[in-house]
Amino acid sequence: MTGESPDRPAGMIAAAQPPALEEVHELLASVWETHPDVTPEDRILFEIAVVEIAGNIATHSSDGRPVTFSLYIEVTPDLIEARFRDDGRKVEVPEATGPVDEMAESGRGLAMTADAVDIVEYHRADDYNHWRIAKNRT
């Protein structure tokens, strides 16, 4: 389920499974269509971060039972912002993402997210995980 209007955030709700990533890409495409003034560089960096967090939720949030997540994206004149919420298990976010061995095959997602955008926030409240990603527009 995707939807977008210039006046309110675009959003989706989906099962936290890898196929939901396709819907995330579709949602982002609809956001860029509505906001053609967002620069290609900002789109690329924001999309990298959003897809990493979505992928993290889709692969790590379930402890065996079905998990649902929501994603809302808002574009303002200064900022592009994504808010995720899921009812999966609590996420252990490393305090600092240390250097990854250059030949490692995984473990780069969160560090890359942090480098791609200006704000990456996580908190747990009311048995929900909340992620907020924001990028200042250039």
Partner: protein, 111 residues
């Protein structure tokens, strides 16, 4: 799922995946890389021109391919990376390990 064209050029395996290289498609792409290395050709080029989006799992598959190729006594190069793929390589500093060549021809030149 991801489509991968596999060809032989100047004695090297040239793989051309298309679409999104993400955690959905990365396992299959790894399998294709494994098959390419197992052919016995020492050189593998991944032509990335048709990759519209790559995430950290996709990048992990390329690193896995590089390791497989080197363990088999060969090497792997990437070519024609899009702006999105180049951004991922720079953010992770992997552009030093997987240096993008402008084209498949450039990747094969002087190898």
């Amino acid at each position: 799922m991801i489509d991968v064209e596999v060809a032989e050029q100047d004695g090297a395996s040239v793989l051309r995946p298309s679409g999104r290289l993400t955690l959905i498609s990365a396992p299959k792409f790894r399998d294709v890389l494994r098959e390419a290395v197992d052919t016995g050709r020492r050189r593998t080029v991944v032509d990335l021109r048709d990759i519209t989006f790559m995430d950290s799992a996709g990048l992990g598959a390329l690193v896995a391919g590089l390791k497989m190729a080197r363990q088999a006594g060969g090497d792997l190069r990437i070519a024609a990376a899009t702006a999105q793929v180049t951004t991922v390589l720079k953010l992770t500093n992997l552009d030093r390990v997987l240096r993008p060549y402008a084209s498949v021809g450039d990747a094969l030149h002087d190898w």
